[in-house]
């Protein structure tokens, strides 16, 4: 009888402990930086590279960095990446004209901000 009571007590303690652990985990998850924050926080490596060159290299930039250019949202940035993957690196800024939705005016607005490395 005493043995059964002991097991019951241990089981209840284990359930309580699990509940506590779950609550702690949930709390920790709540205080993690939001996805948005993690997505857009400047990456030190990218920032360092940008500060040195002073321009966004269209052949190296990732999606987030491309989104910093005027007239470029996530959709167009994704198209640039796909084009790069399909055709290899851009040989000139003008070649970006081939990407759907990006015209000469947009490319002109990147003057001094973007380059092809």
């Amino acid at each position: 009888m005493k043995e059964r009571q002991k097991i019951g007590f241990q089981a209840r303690a284990a359930v309580l402990l699990l509940g506590f652990a779950a609550a702690v985990l949930a709390g920790a998850l709540l205080f993690l930086p939001s996805v948005y924050q993690r997505d857009f926080a400047p990456l030190p490596a990218v920032q360092e590279e940008l500060e040195q060159s002073g321009k966004i290299d269209l052949n190296q930039a990732d999606l987030e960095t491309l989104c910093l250019l005027p007239g470029i949202g996530e959709v167009k940035a994704q198209r640039i990446l796909e084009y790069r993957q399909a055709h290899g690196p851009f040989s000139s800024l003008e070649e970006v004209d081939q990407v759907e939705g990006i015209g000469p005016k947009t490319i002109e607005s990147w003057d001094g901000l973007a380059c092809v490395g």
């Binding site: 400047p42 940008l50 250019l69 001094g112």
Partner: protein
């Protein structure tokens, strides 16, 4: 043109970018790029730091925000007001107690270093103002409010102001500056103000005043305004700012802030 590391942009959040929910993605992108290229950008807000926290996260801004009528910088990283002398502690606590006793219908808010606003007593004027600013407050006994204090705002019926001023004049304690607005009297540390904040930023970051862009509406002292390299007036800018400005933002959400920052990035490297 000097490099972006030695340039400072102060941009009024509400007058130039609008409410956080309506920020243009182009403005946001330009701010991020400007920062990533090494430029210093600080937002000035009419609200409390809590009202602008999310906006800072979205923009990836890592510098302090200029708050409380441009009088102090608040750092989200440390959760504290950066720099600036607080009010003289013991004397102000005694003065606050005296004032609350002498004017039972008045209310008071106290700003502490962590940017929190404490209320030893509330009335409808204080409540309305704090609601307007989007400021969260803590009701607390005067003695329980932690030091140091940076600002005491005394809310009372304006008809009482003359009496209060007389009451204050009788006290042999003048170690503060008093600022009167429509519905409140503010006790501030001596020498505090946007000019002093700008001066310390220029000094700390080794930035020349002429490499500063003032994008906004808030007036500065004439001397400081003249020192700035470039001033762009927001649509609701004060008269001195309008007169000094080279250009104006036509309306909110015009994308002009982004354009301005992109141009700075281009010019700097040209």
């Amino acid at each position: 043109m000097t490099d972006l590391h030695h340039q400072l942009v102060i941009c009024s959040a509400e007058s130039c970018l609008g409410s956080p929910a309506r920020w243009l993605s182009s403005d946001l992108a330009a701010i991020k790029l400007y920062q990533m290229l090494g430029g210093h950008l600080i937002l000035a807000s009419d609200g409390a730091p809590s009202s602008i926290r999310q906006l800072y996260r979205q923009a990836g801004l890592q510098l302090p925000v200029l708050c409380w009528e441009g009088n102090w910088l608040y750092s989200f990283a440390t959760g504290q007001i950066c720099g600036g002398e607080p009010l003289p502690g013991r004397e102000m606590r005694a003065l606050a107690r005296d004032l609350l006793e002498a004017f039972p219908s008045a209310s008071m808010t106290i700003l502490t270093r962590d940017g929190r606003v404490y209320l030893p007593r509330i009335n409808r004027l204080a409540h309305a103002q704090l609601k307007k600013e989007g400021c969260l407050y803590i009701l607390s006994e005067l003695d329980a409010i932690p030091a140091p204090w940076y600002r005491i705002t005394f809310f009372a019926d304006p008809s009482l102001f003359e009496k209060i001023q007389k009451y204050l004049a009788e006290k042999d304690f003048q170690n503060y500056q008093l600022c009167q607005k429509e519905l409140w009297l503010q006790f501030l540390p001596r020498g505090v103000g946007p000019e002093q904040v700008l001066g310390s930023l220029w000094h700390d970051w080794n930035i020349q005043p002429e490499n500063t862009l003032w994008l906004g509406c808030r007036a500065l002292g004439r001397g400081t305004l003249e020192q700035l390299g470039r001033v762009v007036a927001a649509y609701d800018a004060s008269d001195p700012v309008r007169q000094r400005a080279e250009s104006r933002l036509p309306f909110l959400h015009s994308g002009c802030v982004g354009e301005c920052l992109y141009n700075m990035c281009k010019e700097t490297k040209a």
